[in-house]
């Protein structure tokens, strides 16, 4: 029977292999099987975006994917965004410009912002607003987030990584 699935996936550049129940969600796989608890569960109904990760270069909500669906894919979580012990310019900008208050939405916000900046290196305020409209901040700290994304865009243009 196919009630168990073998998941073979690269997460943040590392290969993992686990056998899990068919119903396991990607977000639970990341958190409970791999211990990557930076990806958060907010609403669990696909509205809040706290569970946003990148799968093969595009953002997805990991609470709306089954773990079995990422076999053969490359997943990036918040734990893989920084490199060499140095914060990513987006993370640094969120820190510098109060882009986070309680921090719960932050991993999803950063992944969505990262996707935006991959496509559009110099987004307008409206474009930033639209890019993060699938991520809710219950602290309503959106101004700081917008500012952080704007600053990070400028920083990344100056020093492309």
């Amino acid at each position: 029977m196919a009630r168990e699935v073998d998941v073979e996936v690269r997460v943040n550049g590392r290969a993992f292999k686990r056998r899990v129940q068919s119903r396991m969600l990607l977000v639970d796989f990341l958190r409970d099987e791999l211990g990557l608890t930076g990806t958060h569960i907010g609403c669990d109904t696909g509205h809040c975006g706290a569970c946003t990760v990148m799968m093969d270069g595009v953002t997805v909500k990991s609470c709306l994917l089954l773990a079995g669906q990422v076999t053969g894919s490359e997943v990036l979580t918040i734990e893989g965004v920084s490199a060499g012990g140095k914060l990513h310019p987006l993370q640094q900008a969120f820190l510098d410009h109060q882009g986070l208050q309680c921090g719960y939405c932050t991993p999803g916000m950063i992944l969505s912002s990262l996707f935006l900046l991959k496509r559009n290196s110099n987004p307008s305020e409206d474009e930033i607003r639209k890019a993060i409209d699938g991520n809710l901040c219950r602290c309503t700290g959106y101004w700081g987030i917008m500012k952080a994304v704007k600053v990070a865009a400028t920083a990344m243009q100056k020093a492309p990584s």
């Binding site: 009630r3 699935v5 953002t59 709306l64 994917l65 089954l66 935006l116």
Partner: protein, 286 residues
Amino acid sequence: MFDYYAPSSLGEALNLLSSAEDAKILAGGQSLITLMKLRLTAPASLIDINRILELNYIREEDGRIAIGALTRHDQLVTNPLIRGKCILLAEAAGVIADQQVRNRGSIGGSLAHADPSADLPTACTALNAELKATSKDGSRIIAVKDFFVDFFTTALLQSEVIEEIRLPVPSSRSGGAYAKLTKGHNDFALVAVATECSLDSGGVCEAVNVVLGGVASKPTHAFETEENLLHRRIGDSLIHEAALKADAGLSLTADPRVGQSLKREMIRAFAERTLRMAFLRARGAA
């Protein structure tokens, strides 16, 4: 619990669909997984078609635009062929939910799900789409007007999967536009209007579809508006008069989120707005 299958070819998926117990196709999953989590549905078998890469394409062939069922909403938004020839579809896809959902959700899945408030069923109705439905016994073509049957109900058989969506290539003097009213940003439509039209060389309306979403059990033509415009020279006052009839004869389904009079007003307003934009685009002026 369910059995999970992830076939890598359409043939394999079709065999599973007819042999696995109580099987459901898992496309983008942006509605199905939520429904399963809410225990609104509990299929015994899930057939994940996301590894069937041959179902993801957009190409022009034989006078039509062919879109593979697994094409993601975001691809409809960004694809140059769709943007150039079917801006209505790009506009409708661009206001679905949010970026993460558009990255994963698929056109075939949205049509098969047949939510009357969803964007792509309304847009595809206005674009006179045809659906290629395939089972292990072969394929058939279903016109979009025969495809949507009722709330979340389509003409698709249990043994069939949508393989392709076909749109007739609009003439060079065609245009379209999409508008929707939502409660929250990029939510499901309380009211949506998808309009597609074409003009002849003399500025006379050759064809026009004004299709309403979120108002009935399936996408619904504003027939009186269409009749008022067809074969007539298009001008602002005619558009205004015709749009006033967009809700004529329409019995709205009860909607706890919004009152009927507002809904009717928005149907008329969006009909006018999308008609103006669609005809401007048909003239090449926008």
